[in-house]
């Protein structure tokens, strides 16, 4: 088996350079510390007849000197690590989104086109992939060492991470936040394949047994079943009391837009916002609408919630009201 960790993602090499630099700096310091210790214990042993001479008197210059040097080196390391981290924190806008639900003790993956996987994730190389992660129970952590990436996965919240695979291959997926008895068995594989192979894989799993409709299509079914259209209108065009319905904001074109709340705050409608609206609408009311939306807490499983959100994301505005 490989003894070195593959640098499978675009950022892996950069992280490795940082770690290598840290390693070199550490080795230098250790050489200094161990070296001096070895020199001192031999040269200055109690019975050594070496000329020791006078002791330095003004030692504070030395103290300030090595303190300042330490500060400078540390600050440099901080900047380097922070710069990489900031970029890791911000997924590109055109990233391919894939949804992951963690639970004791497995990873459930769903692609937008409906393919579902357990403890495995197929991705194309050469393209930014953004995972939207949530947990059904305790805190887990989605970790792919070959991509030098991991993030905690929390219940009742969406977290994200992103990566871009450069080398096709199969890589370990680990859960790295202790989550109970099956923590060590919550492992899987990331299968990275070239884009044409990925398209093939999508096609095969779309037509084979156990194929599912796309997430948005599944979400549309749920949207109808749970009566969302009753207030928000068919296709999420919005409701109007004067039209015989209730005042409800339109959902078409909502994703990614800025929303003004009744407190005056302005937020961006991302997955977390939409989830909060469905599960705990009382926490954030949209300005200009009556506070009548009921909560669907406990009625929708996490994966169904993601499908509804995928449907809402797919709704394009037909006309502005």
């Amino acid at each position: 088996m490989r003894s070195l960790l593959p640098q499978a993602s675009a950022n892996a090499a950069e992280v490795d350079y940082l770690i290598l630099a840290l390693l070199l700096a550490s080795c230098l310091v250790l050489a200094l510390v161990f070296g001096l210790m070895l020199v001192y214990v031999s040269r200055y042993r109690a019975d050594a007849r070496v000329e020791r001479g006078k002791l330095a008197q003004k030692t504070w210059r030395l103290e300030i000197g090595w303190t300042a040097a330490t500060f400078v080196v540390f600050f440099g390391l901080f900047l380097w690590g922070a710069d990489l981290y900031v970029r890791l924190f911000q997924p590109p806008r055109d990233a391919l989104q894939i949804y992951v639900v963690g639970k004791q003790w497995m990873w459930k993956v769903e692609h937008q086109s409906g393919q579902r996987e357990i403890n495995a994730l197929h991705v194309p190389t050469g393209r930014a992939i953004q995972l939207v992660l949530t947990s059904e129970d305790v805190i887990h952590d989605f970790s792919v060492p070959a991509f030098r990436i991991k993030h905690d996965v929390l219940p009742d919240r969406y977290e994200t991470l992103w990566f871009q695979v450069e080398k096709a291959g199969v890589y370990h997926l680990f859960c790295t936040q202790f989550c109970g008895e099956g923590h060590a068995s919550m492992i899987g594989e990331i299968v990275a394949m070239s884009p044409p192979e990925y398209e093939d894989w999508l096609g095969q799993s779309a037509s084979g047994a156990g194929a599912h409709e796309s997430m948005a299509a599944a979400g549309e079914v749920l949207f109808t079943r749970y009566g969302c259209g009753g207030c928000h209108g068919e296709g999420g065009v919005g409701g109007k009391q004067s039209g015989g319905g209730v005042d409800a904001p339109p959902l078409a074109g909502l994703y990614g837009e800025k929303v003004t709340l009744d407190t005056g705050a302005v937020v961006t409608a991302d997955e977390s916002y939409i989830r909060d609206c469905i599960i705990s609408p009382e926490k954030q009311r949209v300005a200009g609408y009556p506070p009548i939306m009921p909560s669907f807490a406990g009625q929708l499983e996490e994966e169904n919630l993601l499908r509804v959100i995928a449907y809402i994301k797919s709704l394009k505005p037909t006309e502005r009201r």
């Binding site: 960790l5 200055y44 981290y85 004791q104 305790v138 952590d141």
Partner: protein
């Protein structure tokens, strides 16, 4: 000091032979020994947990078979080692014994509080043992929610209660030290004439007193959530599991400084004594301890870089984490500066101290890796972190504890330990430690997660190496148990100052009389006033 002088005052060991005279003592020296017995016991309990953990990891499938058992074992190892060994180790044993002696005082400020703190510790220990015997806890020593409050199958409340009580023992000890250091210094002992060991314990005590109550409240909140199945950490009602993490780490990060600062103090006493030279840069060393205590309160978020906190918090905590490393680096440079042009001897305390400097530096440097944000994303929650904290805590702190035990053993017991065995144990521990934990840095970089009872087969070789090292380390730790016990009965009797060291504790007989000093000492010299010429040791 000659041996005949010691006979005129009753040594604290001979001052009463009944059980009552020990169990109801208010003599800080006897209380120190009571603690020493308890700490030693828990060190071996936690050590058994470690042994079984490393045994399990010999095979990729996990030799113990059951993941649940493994999870309870590593949780027990963490809880016992953190709260029942590392936090109390130096402060309650060496600290209780030496603080009044070093101050030139006759006891601590509140001797009865001191005894109460031991009883609290014992009560906590009994509750912890009860929790262990009925099956232990399967949450890790970190008790993250919602796992701990809603999903754990273990004995959470019992364990949490044990830690809660131990926390109050800790607070009592810290409070006693702070008031003693402020109020009971001998005439002439200004703050800048105090030995660094006292400064270190002062800084440690400030953290104990301010941080531990936060843990106490956090544990109560978790217990409430567990008992009533609802709480402030529950996202279903609008609470947040991250609130638990912030509160927990607000204590637990300063806690690691509680664990290590006394070790720094010990090394700052031993290196000058065995280099027969004053400590280099006393003021810098002293203020470095204070700086570590203060900045240590500001870095807790570095345990949460991938937890779901904001980018800004990550940036702030990363830069502060680098800042807190600077004073530790200063101390290492100053110890080396002390050795420079010294007259170095290699008695066991010095070997342990040299081991500390090497291993702590390695551990501290790897802290820089995990403080670097992007590197931490890769390394956190892997064996890299496990190796990092074991290097500083075990390679560092446990070595310092052994160094202190050997250095002050003659003072505490009136006996000399067998020197060759002491040196052999120090070397075996250094070697065994590196073989156990160095491979874990590599395992972590390669991606092996922590808290796994079974692992992919490509990690097997390094795990076997690590477990092999653990058996060497175990031998290293068992040896002192043997020869130190032997020395109590057969060791050569010690004079007041066998090492020729400075410090008020060395001016009284070994072992000291109950009242410590016949007359209150008056201090006129700065600390570490070793004459800079060749002097022989006091035998």
């Amino acid at each position: 000091m000659t041996v005949t002088e010691t006979r005129s005052q009753t040594s604290y060991l001979s001052d009463g032979y009944t059980l009552r005279s020990w169990l109801l003592t208010t003599d800080h020296k006897r209380i120190a020994l009571l603690y020493f017995a308890a700490i030693t016991f828990f060190f071996f309990v936690g050590g058994i947990g470690a042994t079984l953990v490393r045994y399990n990891l010999l095979s990729p499938k996990g030799l113990l078979g059951s993941a649940e058992t493994y999870n309870r074992l590593f949780s027990m190892h963490g809880v016992v080692m953190v709260w029942f060994f590392l936090v109390p180790a130096v402060p309650t044993t060496l600290g209780n014994f030496l603080v009044p002696l070093m101050l030139g005082a006759r006891d601590l400020a509140f001797p009865r509080l001191n005894l109460l703190s031991w009883y609290l510790f014992i009560l906590a220990g009994l509750v912890a043992l009860y929790a262990l015997i009925v099956g232990g806890v399967d949450t890790g020593w970190t008790f993250y929610t919602p796992l701990t409050s809603f999903y754990s199958k273990g004995h959470v409340v019992a364990t949490v209660v044990a830690v809660f009580i131990a926390g109050f023992s800790s607070i009592a000890t810290g409070l006693n030290f702070i008031v003693s250091i402020h109020k009971l210094r001998a005439p002439g002992m200004t703050w800048h004439r105090m030995p660094v060991f006292l400064w270190s314990l002062y800084a440690t005590s400030v953290i104990m007193v301010l941080a531990t109550p936060v843990l106490a409240m956090t544990l109560l909140l978790v217990a409430f959530e567990r008992l009533f199945r609802i709480g402030v950490f529950d996202p279903a009602i609008g609470g947040d599991p991250l609130l638990f993490q912030h509160l927990f780490w607000f204590y637990s990060h300063p806690a690691v400084y509680i664990m290590i600062l006394p070790g720094f103090g010990v090394i700052s006493e031993i290196v000058p004594a065995f280099s027969r030279k004053e400590l280099f840069g006393y003021k810098f060393v002293v203020w470095a301890s204070v700086a570590i205590a203060v900045i240590g309160f500001l870095v807790w978020g570095h345990h949460m870089f991938v937890a779901g906190t904001s980018l800004y918090s990550a940036l702030v905590f990363s830069i502060l984490s680098y800042m807190v490393a600077v004073p530790s680096a200063i101390k290492v440079f100053n110890w080396l500066g002390t050795m420079h042009k010294g007259f170095i001897r290699f008695d066991a305390p010095m070997l342990y101290a040299l081991g500390f400097i090497g291993l702590f530096t390695m551990g501290g440097l790897t802290g820089l890796f995990v403080a670097a944000l992007a590197a931490d994303v890769h390394l956190t929650q892997t064996y890299f972190v496990v190796a990092h904290f074991h290097y500083v805590m075990v390679g560092g702190m446990v070595s310092a504890y052994f160094a202190a035990l050997h250095f002050w053993w003659p003072k505490i017991t009136g006996r000399l330990y067998p020197e060759m065995w002491g040196r052999a144990a120090a070397i075996i521990i250094f070697v065994g430690f590196n073989v156990t934990f160095f491979p874990q840095f590599i395992l972590g970089y390669l991606g092996m997660p922590r808290r796994y009872n079974a692992y992919p087969p490509e990690f097997e070789a390094l795990n076997v190496l690590s477990s092999g090292g653990a058996s060497i380390l175990a031998i290293g730790y068992l040896l002192p148990l043997g020869y130190l016990a032997w020395s109590l009965f057969y060791g050569e009797r010690a004079s007041a100052n066998p090492w020729g060291a400075t410090g008020l504790e060395w001016t009284t007989p070994s072992p000291p009389p109950t009242e410590n000093f016949e007359t209150t000492p008056v201090v006129t010299l700065p600390p570490y006033s070793y004459p800079y010429t060749e002097t022989s040791r006091d035998e």
